[in-house]
């Protein structure tokens, strides 16, 4: 464009030219931004994979995953204790958290009305936004003494209070509001005709919820639970504060242990000195990414399958 402004026509042309230029330039930028998510994911996986190659060239995958000896100073890298600890924590958390999350979601979506409903759901929003390090701190003040002084002795265990059970209890508190808000969303998206027709044929309110609504909202609730699963699985700060940090196969729910993320946090100090340790801990990061990816993918497939099966 010449940019001269002596006639109206050329002004119009140059202004249009400027607008089109903005359009073109902005679309390059936006396109770049659009591909950023994919590029970021690929870059993360490749970087982690590249850095964990030293470990994998030294030991086979099976060897590393099935060995229970974790002793970086002696070049022994067995992830089994951390893997078992992670499964233990995740399972216990979900057993404690899921029923309460679903029942509370049912309360908010089906029972609560008016101001109570607004109040309770904004409380849950707030709970979901509290940083996990604060849950860890409050747990150190409240839950650890409770478990150590009352619960563990009552069940005949000499635990100090930090350990797998404590972590699971606190993680259940951390993850519940997250699952509740997703479950409430899918319950509230259901059309009222479902409720009306079920009540109309003589079902009680609970039968309506159990037989009709929980199935219709089933795909959404399932993916809420699976996403919660992923959250617990990758939780770092709360386990690192409360699990006790001993890399051993846990013998009881009250024993101390290690999860995959806490392995990274607790052994970080040795990371720079022994090169293979660095590679091993980065491999843990890679495992976390891959498993979360599998979780997400299976959640998507399951959701699709359930939607077909329980469609209304």
């Amino acid at each position: 464009m010449e940019g001269s402004t002596d006639t109206a026509a050329s002004e119009g042309r140059s202004r249009l030219g400027r607008r089109l230029l903005t359009e073109r330039l902005s679309s390059y930028w936006l396109q770049g931004a659009g591909y950023f998510a994919i590029a970021l994911f690929a870059f993360i996986v490749l970087a982690l994979l590249y850095q964990s190659l030293p470990l994998l060239s030294e030991y086979s995958l099976v060897q590393v995953l099935a060995s229970s000896n974790w002793n970086p100073a002696e070049n022994e890298f067995g992830f089994l204790p951390a893997i078992v600890g992670t499964i233990y924590v995740t399972a216990l958390t979900m057993v404690m958290g899921t029923p309460i999350a679903i029942l509370a979601a049912i309360y908010i979506a089906e029972y609560a009305e008016g101001r109570t409903k607004t109040l309770v759901s904004s409380f849950i929003d707030v709970l979901a936004a509290i940083p996990s390090v604060i849950f860890g701190l409050v747990a150190l003040i409240v839950v650890v003494p409770f478990v150590g002084d009352y619960l563990a002795p009552a069940l005949g265990s000499g635990a100090t209070g930090t350990g797998i059970f404590t972590v699971s209890l606190v993680m259940a508190i951390v993850v519940t509001p997250f699952m509740i808000s997703l479950a409430v969303e899918s319950l509230e998206a259901l059309p009222d005709e479902l409720r009306e027709s079920s009540l109309g044929v003589g079902a009680t309110k609970w039968e309506t919820i159990r037989i009709v609504l929980l199935r219709a909202a089933g795909p959404g609730i399932f993916s809420a639970v699976l996403l919660g699963f992923g959250r617990v699985f990758g939780a770092t700060i709360v386990p690192a504060m409360l699990i006790g940090g001993q890399t051993q196969l846990p013998s009881s729910p009250f024993s101390t242990g290690q999860t995959l993320p806490t392995l990274i946090v607790n052994d970080f100090g040795e990371l720079m000195s022994i090169p293979l340790t660095q590679s091993a801990l980065i491999f843990v990061g890679l495992m976390l990414v891959v498993i979360v990816w599998l979780f997400n993918f299976s959640a998507m497939l399951l959701r699709r399958w359930l939607q077909q099966r329980w469609q209304y």
Partner: protein, 286 residues
């Protein structure tokens, strides 16, 4: 048990669960506020005093370095990440990309959203090792920015999708380009976008795992972009398990500051969303 008794029982269970969740929330917030408030009331200066030389051992001085570190890391990270997130979300709309492409990107965004923060920390750490740098404020910003990106993108994308189509049609009808149309849609979706950005900010300021290995865990005042620094959550994490009660009390005070900041942000986001609702055609809540 007949079906009416069952209905009453499960009604009670549902109420009980909700009451339990609310009670836990009240407990967590009030323990934090009381413990932290007590420390801050007896010695309010620790929030604005730089740390002393033996801070982690004896708790001399205060945690101003962590407050400033949090601000210096999370504010730039939020600005950078929000710019990128809004751009991505615009590109995902039907004006720019096909349904198929945006489905694929959304799948990746879901995976990134679900990725544990510690993985971002480890990832940035591998980058630091690869370029031979040291942990610093700069890498903390990048780590938090990456962590916030999927969160903000999902919120923005949802807000743009729920913006009324009439805005888009009217702008195209007046001869607007795609970019001009996108700006108008952005304006109509502003309440949702602001809420998303503030959510991202709140998540970023509360996250410890991403900055644990990237920002440097320093116990001195942040000195520059490429110097080590720390944030409030990392400080709380390090001090909470200290054997020195004085040091632990600083963790309580810091968590008070953090929880007030997060709760304040939520309130601000609600207020701002209401304020920006006037740009949204069709009423306050659309």
């Amino acid at each position: 048990m007949d079906r009416y008794a069952k209905q009453r029982l499960f009604g009670l269970l549902a109420r009980g669960s909700a009451a339990l969740v609310v009670a836990v929330m009240v407990l967590v917030v009030s323990v934090t506020i009381f413990r932290g408030g007590r420390v801050l009331l007896t010695d309010p200066a620790i929030a604005v005093t730089p740390p002393g030389s033996r801070y982690m051992l004896e708790g001399d001085g205060g945690f101003l370095h962590a407050v400033l570190g949090s601000l210096f890391i999370v504010v730039p990270a939020t600005i950078a990440s929000a710019t990128l997130a809004v751009s991505t979300a615009i590109y995902l709309q039907s004006d720019y990309s096909s349904e198929r492409f945006s489905d694929v990107v959304n799948m990746f965004l879901n995976v990134l959203w679900g990725t544990p923060p510690i993985v971002y920390g480890v990832f940035i750490l591998t980058v630091i090792i690869a370029v031979g740098a040291q942990t610093s404020l700069f890498f903390g910003i990048i780590a938090i920015g990456i962590f916030q990106y999927p969160i903000m993108t999902r919120y923005t994308d949802e807000a743009l999708r729920s913006a009324p189509d009439t805005v888009r049609e009217a702008t195209y009808g007046l001869g607007g380009t795609r970019f001009e149309t996108a700006l108008m849609t952005l304006r109509a979706a502003m309440p949702g976008i602001i809420a998303g950005i503030i959510m991202g900010f709140a998540r970023g300021i509360g996250d410890a795992a991403t900055v644990l290995f990237t920002a440097g865990r320093s116990t001195r005042m942040p000195a520059g972009l490429f110097e080590p620094s720390t944030t409030l959550p990392v400080l709380i994490f390090d001090q909470a398990m200290s054997f020195n009660a004085e040091v632990r009390s600083h963790a309580y005070a810091a968590s008070f500051v953090l929880i007030v900041a997060v709760l304040g942000l939520i309130i601000v986001s609600k207020l701002l969303a209401g304020r920006y609702a006037r740009f949204a055609p069709g009423g306050r809540n659309s």
